[in-house]
């Protein structure tokens, strides 16, 4: 026991400040090859994928900047969340960005970063107008098929109208980054989302580097989400 402890201590001293280290040496490999392999799934405004265009979105921009700190460029791999989780577990990709939140079902499968940004789904109302706080019988539009439809129906007394495209003018249930464009003011918060990215379990050096990078950039992430969220 004592010998083991001494050995561990010696190892600590020898490796100096390079703690924690990756189990599979992912960080070293990224630096050596100059390539960060990122799995991305569409999740506007965090990851925006349009045919014929390079990937965009707040998390895409953040990962590009993170890769630069390691002296690497990003190789984007598009796919579903499930594909990326499986690939991450096998070490076929290094990091995953898909608009993940801290409550995601994958949280035991892969290593989440600490939340780098909190966004809210809100009911916004036109600036200057007054509405009852429970929104009784107020027509609130929300993008068809978006969780905001259900959230607004369940949590308010509003008459929720699913629409194909949101337009400025009336109250709407939307992500808070859209409020400015729709010229709305937040009235009620329907849901809070804490945003994270994921790396492979055990790649703790990469995890810690990514977390340190992201945690220093909350304002930057906020701006990116607001910009990339523009229609």
């Amino acid at each position: 026991m004592k010998a083991l402890a001494a050995l561990a201590l010696a190892a600590l001293v020898l490796t100096g400040c390079r703690i924690p280290q990756d189990t599979d040496g992912t960080t070293d490999r990224i630096r050596r090859d100059g390539v960060l392999r990122a799995g991305i799934s569409e999740s506007d405004p965090f990851v925006v994928l349009e045919p014929g265009k390079p990937p965009a979105g707040a998390e895409v921009r953040l990962l590009e900047r993170f890769a630069r700190t390691l002296g690497a460029r990003v190789e984007w791999i598009e796919g579903s969340e499930e594909e990326h989780v499986d690939a991450l577990r096998e070490g076929s990709i290094d990091v995953m960005a898909a608009g993940l939140t801290s409550k995601s079902r994958w949280k035991k499968e892969v290593a989440f970063t600490r939340p780098y940004l909190t966004t809210e789904t809100v009911v916004g109302v036109p600036v200057g107008a007054s509405y009852p706080t429970d929104l009784a019988n107020v027509r609130v539009s929300a993008e068809e098929g978006n969780e905001a439809v259900g959230l607004a129906e369940r949590k308010t007394n509003a008459l929720v109208a699913p629409v194909d495209e949101l337009k400025p003018g009336g109250p709407a249930a939307v992500g808070d980054w859209l409020l400015g464009d729709l010229r709305l003011m937040p009235l009620t918060v329907l849901k809070k989302d804490k945003h994270v990215m994921a790396v492979k379990n055990g790649e703790n050096e990469l995890l810690v580097r990514l977390e340190r990078f992201l945690l220093n950039r909350e304002g930057e992430a906020r701006r990116l989400v607001d910009e990339e969220g523009k229609p």
Partner: protein, 326 residues
């Protein structure tokens, strides 16, 4: 009661009362300290198996001090119409239930860690914002572990001394567990450092080591509690051998000229012993008075002997204990 007999309201001998008070104070201190350790380690658990195991080990540490303090209340509660033997046993039952729960927790951690090892699960440990810095959570874990591992050693050494004076097996078990705590903590630390060095298996291996220790402790406690409830022959507080008081009582009884043979059968009632003495009298003159005299003499031997029934018999049929047996 048939024959003679005596019982008294339980009271510690005067010279032991300050020791008892000190023991109670120490156990309260242990509880408060344990709570702080459980909260600190609990807050830094993360996804480390070794930390989880160490945390459960800390939870286990609540058991003996709680049992000791509760028992020290119950011992003062005397017998009544509903519970003619007093209520010491309530403590044994609670002790058994807690011991079983902890045994299963140990088994759970063991299996959980074994599965993680087999499936090559790697533990992620990230950073935590602390006073404006992002510190690797692993460092905080090490601090939490040190807090949960070093003070108990000193508590354990002090409690051990008091346990020897009080002949108290719960206090003794607690002291021994505290003294052994540093091993759990050292194992968990190696697990966390292992993760830091990228040795993914270190975490689960450390957890397995701690889990087997919890299982052993749990099993030992289940056994002790079960034996209590089964009225096993009392052992010394450190479990080293049968308590010599039974033999001493037999010799004392047989030293009386009118006693041909005497056999003592004792059981534990919480901190004290109760039981019966079967006596084959040489002649039966003034038998009742003589039986009372035996009871007084035997109760005077040791404060631990608390409640005796003396039965005159013509033949004795009580199995002798084997020296090795337990």
């Amino acid at each position: 009661m048939s024959g003679g007999g005596a019982s008294r309201t339980f009271e510690l001998p005067e010279q032991l009362q300050p020791v008892m008070k000190q023991a109670k104070r120490l156990e309260w201190l242990t509880l408060v300290y344990m709570l702080s350790a459980v909260i600190f380690v609990g807050l830094t658990l993360g996804q480390s198996q070794a930390m989880k195991a160490a945390w459960i080990d800390d939870l286990l540490g609540f058991l003996p001090p709680a049992a000791f303090l509760i028992a020290s209340r119950f011992r003062e509660r005397t017998a009544n119409g509903k519970f003619p033997w007093g209520q010491h046993r309530a403590v044994s039952i609670a002790y058994l239930a807690a011991a079983v729960a902890l045994l299963f927790m140990g088994l759970y951690v063991f299996l959980d860690s074994a599965i993680k090892l087999v499936y090559l699960e790697h533990a992620p440990i990230g950073v935590i914002p602390l006073f404006g810095h992002e510190v690797w959570l692993g460092w905080i874990m090490l601090v939490a572990l040190a807090w949960s591992g070093v003070p108990p050693v000193f508590l354990g050494i002090r409690k051990r001394k008091l346990a020897d004076q009080l002949h108290d097996k719960v206090l003794y078990a607690d002291a021994e567990m505290n003294r052994a705590d540093w091993m759990t903590v050292a194992a968990a630390m190696l697990g966390v450092i292992g993760i830091g060095l990228g040795l993914w298996w270190a975490d689960s291996v450390a957890a397995l080591f701690i889990a087997q220790d919890i299982i052993r402790d749990g099993w030992r406690n289940v056994r002790a509690a079960t034996h209590d409830l089964m009225d096993a022959r009392p052992r010394r507080h450190d479990n080293s051998e049968y308590h010599p008081i039974a033999e001493e009582m037999e010799r004392e009884a047989e030293s009386l000229p009118w006693v041909r043979e005497a056999v003592v059968r004792l059981r534990e009632e919480g901190h004290v012993f109760a039981g019966e003495v079967q006596v084959i009298p040489e002649d039966e003159t003034e038998l009742v008075e003589r039986l009372d005299e035996v009871a007084d003499r035997l109760l005077g031997l040791d404060w631990k002997v608390h409640d005796l029934v003396i039965v005159p018999v013509t033949e004795i049929d009580v199995p002798e204990p084997s020296e090795a047996g337990d």
